[in-house]
């Protein structure tokens, strides 16, 4: 099953990345988050190190086990800023990157009148669904990790530059859990949601418009940090990752069960 799904995924990647729209949708955020944003972090590092007061005036509580050995208020302010902003930005990136490819998955085939030919091939329903998911998942997760790597390098460089101390301050365990579990889960969530929407509309544009709903979980996380939930703790990170795993599993089961060749050809 995986072999034929990968054949489809490779075709998808070759096809969709020849669209200028998709290239721009992919490359632009990657450059902004992977290059421009780290430069801003360097700048923030400089600003925070020379700030007159410490970082205890955040609008949300900082967990006590968050870098307990760092007592310098400027350093704490830098760490909190970096971790909060990075978490939100990378999650936003992971959420938005696959939207267009996943929106294109079925609506695009319909729009370009290629769906019947694909469905008349020996591919099973599961292979088609999996192939479409992989086509959006692979480039998104690769880009998200590349951006995260770039951010990681810049954060640590900024720390060295601002406080003249060599120390790997990013990622900590919470960030690692987010990278290894939450990022792929969130990407998967977005793709599944978008693919589902894509099966139910005729045009890619309609699918992307409906697709704004995928930002909801990220908004929830941001909201959680502002209402005082301990988002920077290991327990919370594991809880969120477990929750997303459940949601993704449920969505995948639902999508597999509801996927219908007939509906793709006859409805709308």
């Amino acid at each position: 099953m995986l072999h034929r799904a990968m054949i489809l995924a490779r075709k998808e990647l070759r096809d969709v990345f020849r669209s200028r729209m998709i290239k721009i949708n992919f490359i632009l955020p990657a450059v902004i988050f992977g290059v421009v944003f780290p430069i801003v972090i360097l700048f923030i590092g400089g600003l925070v190190s020379s700030a007159p007061t410490g970082g205890s005036e955040f609008p949300f509580p900082i967990p006590p086990d968050f870098f307990p050995d760092v007592t310098n208020p400027n350093q704490r302010m830098y760490l909190v800023l970096v971790y909060t902003i990075c978490t939100i930005f990378v999650l936003i990136l992971a959420t938005f990157l696959p939207i267009y490819i996943a929106a294109d998955s079925f609506a695009g085939e319909r729009e370009r009148k290629t769906i019947q030919q694909l469905l008349s091939s020996p591919l099973t329903d599961s292979e088609i669904l999996l192939g479409k998911i992989l086509a959006a998942f692979i480039p998104t997760i690769v880009t998200t990790y590349a951006v995260t790597l770039s951010i990681t390098v810049f954060i640590n460089l900024a720390w060295l530059n601002a406080f003249h101390e060599f120390r790997i301050i990013f990622p900590n365990l919470v960030a690692l859990i987010q990278m290894l579990l939450l990022y792929p889960e969130l990407v998967f969530f977005t793709i599944l949601t978008m693919c589902w929407i894509s099966t139910r509309v005729n045009k890619v544009m309609e699918a992307t418009q409906f697709g704004s709903v995928v930002i909801f979980p990220v908004l929830l996380l941001i909201f959680a940090s502002f209402v005082g939930l301990p988002v920077l703790t290991v327990n919370f990170a594991i809880l969120v990752a477990a929750l997303f795993a459940l949601v993704d599993y449920g969505l995948f089961k639902l999508a597999s069960r509801r996927f219908s060749r007939e509906a793709l050809l006859t409805k709308i």
């Binding site: 489809l8 070759r14 020849r18 290629t114 019947q116 030919q117 694909l118 008349s120 020996p122 050809l265």
Partner: protein, 317 residues
């Protein structure tokens, strides 16, 4: 020999609309089977059901012995589908080689087989020179050729084709018809052909079925259909000028001659026993001093058959 395409009471509805209404048909291996009918008659739905794209509401069908519902994936691996030209199904941002290779891989062909087959088919379709150009830059005819190439890339046992020669120039259409004939007669492949091009269907189809309102109105070889629709055959006699015009009245009294008409030097008549009647007519004319230039039968074309069955319904635009 069992039917390679077999349908029994096949029915498919969309809400209250019965698109395919209890169709029972069989197509033999190596046959070119024409499936004709007006727009909305149920042709495309029938093909989609047979290709396991839609499930039937009632009845059953098999392709090469495989049930279209229970063995859908197997069915899809033994068929090739050429959809109607506006649904060419080609990936326009990809090249012909990429399009064909993608589909070939889905049929578990090896890399070597794929390379050879792609080259062979693109050569045959006269597209090898454009193998690395994006399909989006192709003309309508070239796209149609590539669609045909894609439908036959895996050498399917049964080919479903919807208007295959639309968009092809006359020379390409002719060589495609010859290719289809070779495919069926030499390689024993089967073609299920939907077309509105009746002269073409008349030329290449071994048998035809005419579908209307989801039901099979008639099925058989065109010669059989002619016989069943027109009991009498029509003949035209052309005489050299200067014959005795009163001969017409005498001829109309011969045996089973009917509807005899004389217009200038042309006599037209109908008969259901030409073997008996025609020699008599010739004899009478010669005896009366008339000289015959030609005697020929007015063949009913497939278009005549189609129009007789479908009537005026299909004429609206």
């Amino acid at each position: 020999m069992p039917d390679i395409v077999h349908m029994e009471n096949l029915t498919r509805t969309f809400g209250k609309i019965v698109a395919v209404d209890h169709i029972s048909l069989g197509v033999k291996e190596g046959e070119i089977f024409g499936f004709l009918g007006p727009n909305g008659a149920g042709k495309t739905t029938t093909i989609r059901v047979l290709c396991s794209l839609l499930k039937p509401d009632e009845g059953k069908a098999t392709i090469d012995g495989h049930d279209i519902v229970k063995e859908a994936s197997t069915v899809r691996s033994v068929i090739g589908l050429l959809p109607e030209p506006e649904l060419s199904g080609l990936y326009e941002r990809m090249t012909p080689i990429e399009n064909l290779t993608f589909f070939a891989k889905l049929y578990n062909m090896s890399e070597r087989q794929i390379q050879n087959r792609v080259k062979e088919i693109l050569d045959m379709m006269d597209l090898w020179g454009r193998r690395n150009d994006r399909v989006g830059t192709f003309s309508r005819g070239m796209r149609q050729k590539l669609s045909i190439a894609r439908a036959i890339i895996h050498d399917p046992k049964v080919l479903f084709m919807d208007e295959p020669t639309t968009g092809l120039d006359p020379a390409a259409a002719k060589s495609f018809r010859e290719f289809l004939a070779r495919l069926c007669k030499q390689l024993n492949r089967t073609v299920f052909l939907c077309t509105h091009n009746l002269p073409e269907a008349d030329m290449i189809c071994d048998r035809i079925a005419i579908i209307n309102h989801g039901q099979i109105a008639m099925v058989g070889e065109t010669s059989e259909l002619r016989k069943s629709l027109w009991k009498k055959r029509t003949f035209t006699l052309t005489l050299l000028p200067g014959f005795d015009k009163s001969i017409a009245e005498k001829l109309s009294k011969i045996g089973t001659v009917e509807n005899l008409k004389l217009k200038r030097n042309i006599i037209q008549f109908e008969t259901d026993k030409p073997d008996e009647v025609n020699p008599l007519i010739v004899q009478r004319i010669v005896e009366s001093g008339g000289r015959i230039l030609t005697l020929q039968e007015e063949k009913k074309t497939l278009e005549d058959i189609y129009m007789k069955i479908i009537g005026q319904e299909g004429e609206g635009i």
